[in-house]
Structure formats: C-alpha cells, structure tokens
Symmetry: D2
C-alpha cells in the first residue's frame, strides 16, 4: 500500500533539490510523476519549482486552499511530489492522504516544519499528524554548524519575533538555525547581528 511521506527541513536544507532528484529518477525509468505546489507561493513565478542550485521544473498542478485534486490526471502516475507542502490546507493534505489509499500512489511532501515563530503551518501541522513517515532533510545552523531545527527571520534590525506568518519573496531574510542560536538571537532582538 502506498505511503504518505513528509520530508521536512528548514529553509535552505535542499528539500526542492531532493524533490527534483526523485522526479528525475522516476522519469529515467520511463515513469510519470506529478509535481504539485500551492499557488500561494509565487516566489519564482506561479508554476516553477526551483532549487537554489538552479535546477528547476514546472509544477504540473497548482492547488489553492479549497482545491479539489482532479484524480483523472493521476491515472498511471508512479509518484506524487509536493513542493512547499507547508502551505497546503488541511483539506488538501487529507485529499492526498486519501489518494494513497484509494489509488495506491505514493505521495512525498517536502516542506518546512515551522515558521519563524516555531509554529507549524496549516499543511505541515496536518502532515505531522497523518504522514506514514516523517523524514528530516538536514542542514547545519547558519551560526554554529549544529543541526538546524528552526527558521530565524531577520531584518536590518536583527531577528524578528513578530509579524505575519508568511512573507513571500523574502527568502533571503531567513536563516536555518539550531535551537540554542534561535533562542539567543530572538532574545536579543533589534541588535544588528547580521552584518554577514
């Protein structure tokens, strides 16, 4: 029976690169994948799935919070891959969960676990509840090389502790950080720590 995977990681952990590599492997075997992403995030244009390394591809399906995934397009598909899965609605996650059972197609979701205030997003919160397998895509802390766990949001004034959950187009304002560095920076906010 096909499974639902949540491969979570911080900003810049290589999640999209991992997604593109999985797509590449299936396609080399002559099999078809479907790449889904939330419409919400249009950093790189409405339909592109782009890794920071420069590799990219076009998403096959864009979903909104109230989208109903069309099962006709899933016929003969070997794997469903979801980029930026943290932005999915609970309802779309539940549809993907159902698809693994009804259609026996594995679904691999890549996304952030939490926002800059250490709270889950709608999609990541639901995936943490219902995924068959939780896998971590690891990277190192921006400051100290321990494993990164949190996403720090910074401005010219230092670490931000308040503000809207999502600020699209602001990728350069996030840093993957470990717990101790997250704690020390959010507690001494508004200091110019980010001369780097």
């Amino acid at each position: 029976m096909a499974k639902l995977y949540f491969r979570h990681g911080t900003m810049s952990s290589g999640k999209t690169l991992n997604l593109l590599a999985v797509a590449h492997n299936y396609e080399q075997k002559g099999e078809r994948v479907v790449v889904i992403r939330p419409r919400l995030d249009d950093r790189f244009g409405a339909e592109s799935v782009v890794s920071r390394t420069g590799i990219q591809r076009i998403a096959d399906v864009l979903v909104d919070v109230d989208s109903i995934i069309d099962r006709k397009i899933l016929q003969g598909v070997a794997c469903i891959l979801v980029d930026e899965a943290q932005f999915l609605s609970c309802d779309v996650v539940d549809q993907l969960r159902q698809i693994t059972w009804d259609l026996d197609i594995p679904v691999i979701c890549y996304g952030l676990r939490t926002d800059f205030q250490t709270r889950s997003f709608s999609g990541s919160g639901r995936l943490l509840e219902v995924a068959d397998t939780l896998e971590e895509v690891k990277t190192v802390c921006h400051f100290c090389n321990r494993k990164a766990v949190f996403n720090l949001r910074i401005s010219a004034l230092g670490a931000e502790v308040d503000g809207p959950q999502i600020e699209l187009g602001a990728d350069d304002r996030y840093r993957p950080v470990c717990g101790p560095c997250y704690h020390s920076h959010t507690n001494r906010q508004n200091q110019d720590l980010f001369g780097d």
Copy 2:
C-alpha cells in the same frame, strides 16, 4: 548541547517500556534521572509509570497544564524522561525546551502522536514543532501487520468517530492501526467488527 527528543508511537507500541529501559541504563551507571508525567492521566494511580509488560516505577514529578517546573530538583540530573507527553500543555513543553538550553539536560518525551480522530494533542502538537529529533516507536497494525500509524477507538458497536478526545481508563478500547485499516474501519462504523 542537550536535545529535546519526541519518541512518538501509537497505543501499545512499547513507549513506556522504552522509557523505563532508558531510566534503568542511567541508574546502572550511578546517574540520576527525573521522570515526569502529566497528572491528567491516572489510569494506574496518580504517580505510577507502568508498562503493559508489568515493569513500573513511580513518577518523580506530576505536572498540570499550568505547572512551573521547579528547576531546583533538576540539579545534577543526567536526563529528564516524560511519559504520556501528549497530555502536556504547550507551556510545559516550552519549559522543557528551555531546560535543554539553560541547564544542558537532555529531555526525552514519549507519547502518542494523535488521538482517535487523527488530531494531535496539546503536548504532541507542540513537540512535533519544537523537538530536535522526532523518533518513531514502531508497532504493527492490529488487523494486518503493516506499521501502525493511527489509534482506533472502538466500542461494542465498532469504531468510534465522535466523542471526547481523552477517555482515561479506556486503554482496552484503543487499537494501533495502519492507515488503510483506520480508513476502512472508521468508514464502516457501527458494525460489530471487534469480536476478537
């Protein structure tokens, strides 16, 4: 730097047995652990941490949703172990998170990931967000031997889909189940499937 672990598993996956084994290993080395549990759950008496195999010990600290953990009792402690961590409040999880950073004591939390409706509890939801490491304590589905992921609640009438999140003293009404079996049983509820 000490870490916060969330070792999640379904009902009957051996979480408490794992906790007791960890405590045993530290104590054999002459080191002290502190065992914490929420007061909420008094299945086996207010203070006992009991594995289904029969091994048990007394919890050192009982916490309520608004408890402030007394750091004096943590002096010289090698490890903090938490049983039934799904019932912790977010605030207590945040205190434990802080303790790993301030006191450099590892905290290992054992608990359910989700309730019988596949929703996280207060404690497990927060641990899924902020733990350094998510580890699964695995067991097999009651019906089919795939890996269990969900907790099915049953009554004489079959699977339950509605009701209060917590029904203490009702352990024998839960079954660890895989996704497909959870789905098939909650969709044909009120049928007497549980003659076993």
Copy 3:
C-alpha cells in the same frame, strides 16, 4: 513483501527488551512469533532469551553456524525474531533473507554491530550488507552520556585491545562507549581506569 530488519546496538542498549516487547505485541493479537538465537551464546542457559530487566522467554529455535532452518515450523508465523544475531553465520543470515522473500514473513534481527575491536561479527557483517532496514537501538556512553557506538572490553587492568573476539559469560566486562571515550581508553590501556 516482508522485510529483513537489523536493529543493532551496543551492549546494554535494550535490544533484547525490544525483542520481547515485539513478541508480546504479536501474541496479544493472537499471532505466533518464532524466536531464534545462536546456540553459541549460552550465557543464561542454552535456550533463554533474557533482558537485563529480568523479563525473559525461551527461544523456539537454536541455530548453529551450519544449521538449515526448518521451514515447516514457520507455517502460520507472523514474525521471526532473532536475538544475539551478531553470532549468526553468513549462511544462516542468507537463509533468513531468503525466507522473507519465499514465505513473506518479516525477520527482525537484534544484535551488536561490532566487537571490542570495532570489527563486525559474522552475522552482523552480513546483516549490515543485506538488511532492508538498518535501525539503531540507542543508549548512552558509560563515561560521558554521548550516544554509545562501540563496545569497550575491560579487565582489572583497564581496557583490553587484544584477545579472542567472543568471551561469553563476560557481560560485565563490556561498556557501551562513544567514539571519543573508546579512543581515549584504548589508547591508555593497562591503566586502572575502572574503579567504578
């Protein structure tokens, strides 16, 4: 399709306790498991599988290096559990590997990864090659509370660096240790470091 698992860990990491818990879970569901152990290791009597916590059961099958596992006894079995799997011969591991494919019965092997000189045993070496899943049963270093990775053998004179690979009945002469502690102790051998 059933899988072959190798759950490896150092001395005192709770491998046997984990095995007994898995057996218990299957049997509570009314299913049958078969517990196998190598005859070589008769620390606790030829046929007992004993956890340091005191829980135990009798092994169903004892295997020698040249045993042919009788498939008749595996009829209707839900799971095969192997204790002290590091002592299996390569050939017996290959039979177990084959059983997962021919009979579709999962095989979970518990054992040490390496000996006191950091070399694999016959069984663990083969399992590290052919298991579908490698899972670590974790415990902490005897000296410093980092994760244990190696097994240190000690005598009244300190850490041992030479000697036979297997010394049965000498469990109290092993300590689970992390890499740095293994290194520092084997490099200053023959000093009385073990007053504890």
Copy 4:
C-alpha cells in the same frame, strides 16, 4: 564532538547530488569544505565529482588505498565530504574516523553499501562498522518501485552473477533494485530481461 556519517545508497540514489548540496550550503555561509574521493574511480576524469543531474565540482583531494591524509590542508575546514566512499581502504576510513576525534571536523561519507553480489566494498564495510550514524539515501527499485536495496549488474545477456567487483565506466550496467527483484533476476540469469 564531530561525527563520522555514512550516507549509503544504491546506484542512482542521488548520493553525489546530496554531497554537492551540502558543500553548497557550507560555502554560502562563507565556510570551507574539503571534498575527497578515491583515485580508483575515474569515470568522469580523475578529479571530478559529478551528479547525474549535471552539477559537478572538482575534488580537493584524491586518495589511494595507502594515502596518508595531510592534516595541514584541513585547517579551518568546516566539513569533510567523501564521494564514492565505498572504494576507500579500511586504513583511510580509520584516518577519517580519527580526524573527527582529533580535529573535531565532521566527515560525511557517501557511497554504495554493497556490490553487485551483495558484498560490501573495503570502504563501505569499514564505514558500516565505525560510523557514528548510518543514514540511507533512498531510491526506488528499477522494476517495481519498492525501495531499492541492492545493485544489479546487467549485460546484453541479463543479470550478471559473476565477475570482478568493480567495473568502472560501466554505470549504465547497474540498476538499483529491491530484494525480491534482485533475487528473481539473479536466479533467472542469462535471459534477455533488459529490453528496456
């Protein structure tokens, strides 16, 4: 204390891509990595580390079976990355192991677990024994989409079961396969199964 990682996977599982992404992440932070590869493997020229996706870089150090790694070049290095680590000699693995302890630099080794006959290589065998952390880089079976575990070597005549362990420049003759597919193909060798 820095750790030694072995990230093992079958052919075409994305190991080198993962390595290149890790290097990229460190370098974006302004930190230096050293990339090591065995000289033995000169598929793509003596010094290139190339992912099948096309991304590549030049290895900083080529090692032979009897190389002594020059520690002077490791000064100020944040991470050591090893490609094709299965081809390292045991002795070079032991040097890398020692470097994590002496210089406190993490070493991440990427490589195959086993050859086309399911036997470990010199480097992978030693890494399976002494790595602090074994992590699997996953991909799917060429034939059936289960997780790949073995590497099948094929010729115009079908699966090969005999021959030299290493055939460089023959990457297109390997397929990542699951256990059941490995078994079924090697047992009906010399049949033209590979029309694809």
